[in-house]
């Protein structure tokens, strides 16, 4: 097996700034109040993902999932430790990542594809497929600023799944789509998984993680809490115990992520 993603003691530190202006900083310093604070969004995280594995990345809000995904994507760099990946990376980090509200859907589609690393030739070949998958009809000609969050997600997802990648990242992609589109996305993601690509799937939905993933990594306040079987991971997070006060389950809320 070949290693697809390798993390060794990865730490990412964020600086919290309480005061920004000269006046505020001077006043704070005079009073002896801290002007900034540091905290570790990720602390000493190490794991290894083999090519073709599908990883469910779970954790409570603010546990560092998105930061980790951004680092794997190459948007952020770790402050300490090493993070290595093999091959091209594509995927969606938050819905409709980086769309330009004034540009039309078509223009954004082209730009987004280029940002994800498609060449002109590749895009020409896949353009019709992407448009068909997004299934937005004439809305595609309107500025993205007028899109609903679901429509944005459709467009973003359509582009991302058509990029030839070795690693596919998915974060909160399906949360806003309607049911038919969610089903289509799940199918596509399973295809991606079965085609031997590495999949990193961030989700709060135990059902979809169990269905999609062969391994679960749980982050807890920036640290690696659990790494292993999906069922055990979900149990570790206590996502399998139904909430006694609120009997509404994931499926009833229609919340896939």
């Amino acid at each position: 097996m070949t290693t697809s993603i390798l993390l060794e003691n990865v730490t990412k530190e964020f600086t919290l700034r309480y005061h920004r202006t000269f006046k505020e900083v001077t006043v704070a310093k005079a009073r002896g109040v801290k002007t900034s604070d540091r905290f570790n969004a990720l602390e000493d995280v190490s794991f290894k993902v083999e090519a073709g594995e599908s990883i469910g990345l779970m954790g409570l809000n603010g546990s560092g999932k998105s930061t980790l995904l951004k680092m794997i994507n190459g948007v952020m760099r770790p402050d300490n430790g090493t993070l290595l990946t093999r091959g091209r990376i594509a995927g969606l980090i938050a819905t409709g990542a980086g769309f330009h509200p004034q540009l039309s859907g078509e223009e954004n589609l082209v730009l987004n594809a280029a940002i994800l690393g498609m060449s002109e030739r590749e895009l020409k070949r896949k353009y019709d497929d992407i448009v068909a998958f997004a299934d937005l009809g004439r809305t595609l000609e309107a500025p993205v600023g007028h899109y609903s969050s679901g429509q944005r997600a459709r467009l973003g997802f359509a582009v991302a799944v058509h990029v030839d990648s070795d690693i596919f990242l998915a974060d909160e992609v399906l949360a806003v789509g309607d049911k038919p589109f969610r089903a289509k996305c799940m199918k596509k993601m399973m295809e991606i998984r079965d085609s031997g690509r590495t999949l990193v799937y961030v989700s709060h939905s135990p059902a979809s993680v169990e269905k999609m993933c062969s391994r679960v990594i749980v982050l807890e306040k920036g640290r690696l809490g659990f790494d292993g079987e999906p069922k055990a991971g979900i149990h570790y997070l206590e996502y399998d115990t139904p909430d006694s006060d609120n009997e509404i389950t994931d499926d009833e809320m229609g919340n896939d992520i």
Binding site: T2, T3, L6, F14, T15, A51, K70, M71, I72, N73, G74, V75, M76, R77, D79, T82, L83, L84, T85, R86, G87, R88, I89, I93, A94, A97, G98, F99, H100, Q102, L103, E107, V110, L111, A114, I115, L116, G117, S119, E120, E122, K126, D129, H162, D164, S165, D166, E191, I192, D194, S195, R197
Partner: protein, 304 residues
């Protein structure tokens, strides 16, 4: 999954090296991804005059009105440079470069902030944005040069080979120094918005630091042997080079003889040497800016 099986995946996975996902950054990576760069430049150009009726015409109107203001105040009200042949061409050729630099520097500094959404979420060389701004500014230089060439031809322009070298050299100097300023300040602007205001202050000086409203001959006359220090400013070099390309070839032999008789030094000695040294300096500055940018870049996404 026929659409996924392509050249990229048919490679043996072992052949692809394990590397940091953010490795391919820097100015070289920007030009490797020329398709994306082209799209960004196109987007900027179409976005700049979006919703405007006159559109690209503004690229002509803006510098032309500036030109007429300067010409009216300096040439007509102050009655300066009456003895300088074709002063309007002298003025306009300088104005084009000043405009090019200020646009690159100013808009380039704001470029990272303006493209926040992309910078925070997508992995791409962030130098892309300052570079795209520079290219957009360069694109807007073209119509202005067209106007200038028409004016030059009407005034009896007889360019030589040196003029062409000077033209290219001048544009390269401005592009390099504008881009390095944009790189430095766009990254700094993320941390403190003050840098955007500093740029506004700096660009105010540019008009006076180059021989635009006054001829180089005046600098030579007043500064004497210190005139060489004036030429340490790469912007001044670029402007003088540009005037060598456009303004000097419009001066007739009789006018030239008159200027020489008066002892006016309209162009510095060893102009091309000055130009090449200035370009080399700007390229070093660009390398330095890239180095600073790479160091600051690490913290950009979390500060935006």
């Amino acid at each position: 999954m026929t659409d996924i099986a392509t050249d990229d995946l048919s490679r043996n996975p072992e052949d692809i090296p394990l590397k940091p996902p953010s490795a391919d950054n820097g100015l070289f990576a920007v030009f490797q991804r020329h398709y994306l760069l082209r799209l960004l430049v196109q987007r900027e150009i179409s976005a700049r005059y979006q919703g405007s009726f006159l559109g690209l015409m503004w690229s002509y109107i803006n510098p032309l009105t500036q030109f007429f203001i300067y010409w009216f105040v300096i040439g007509f009200l102050f009655q300066l440079h009456k003895d300088l042949p074709n002063f309007p061409i002298h003025l306009f050729s300088a104005l084009i470069l000043v405009h090019f630099f200020n646009e690159t520097f100013g808009a380039g500094t704001r470029s990272i902030m303006r493209n926040k959404a992309l910078v925070v979420k997508m992995a791409m060389p962030r130098e892309m944005f300052p570079v795209a701004t520079m290219l957009v500014s360069l694109y807007h230089v073209v119509p202005q040069v067209v106007v200038l060439v028409i004016a030059c031809v009407l005034s009896g322009w007889t360019p030589d080979a040196v003029a062409v070298v000077c033209l290219v050299l001048a544009l390269l100097i401005i592009a390099a120094i504008g881009l390095s300023g944009a790189l430095l300040f766009s990254a700094a602007n993320v941390f403190f918005r003050d840098f955007g205001n500093i740029v506004n202050v700096l660009t105010n000086f540019v008009r006076f630091g180059v021989p635009m409203m006054y001829p180089y001959a005046m600098v030579h006359d007043r500064f004497g042997r210190f005139a060489d220090y004036y030429l340490l400013n790469p912007l001044a070099d670029a402007v003088v080079l540009f005037q060598r390309a456009f303004w000097v070839p419009t001066i007739s032999d009789a006018e030239m003889a008159e200027l020489e008789a008066r002892g006016d030094v309209i162009m510095p000695d060893n102009l091309l040497t000055h130009g090449f040294v200035a370009l080399a300096f700007c390229l070093v500055l660009l390398a330095f800016s890239q180095w600073v940018f790479s160091r600051l870049e690490n913290k950009i996404p979390e500060r935006l």
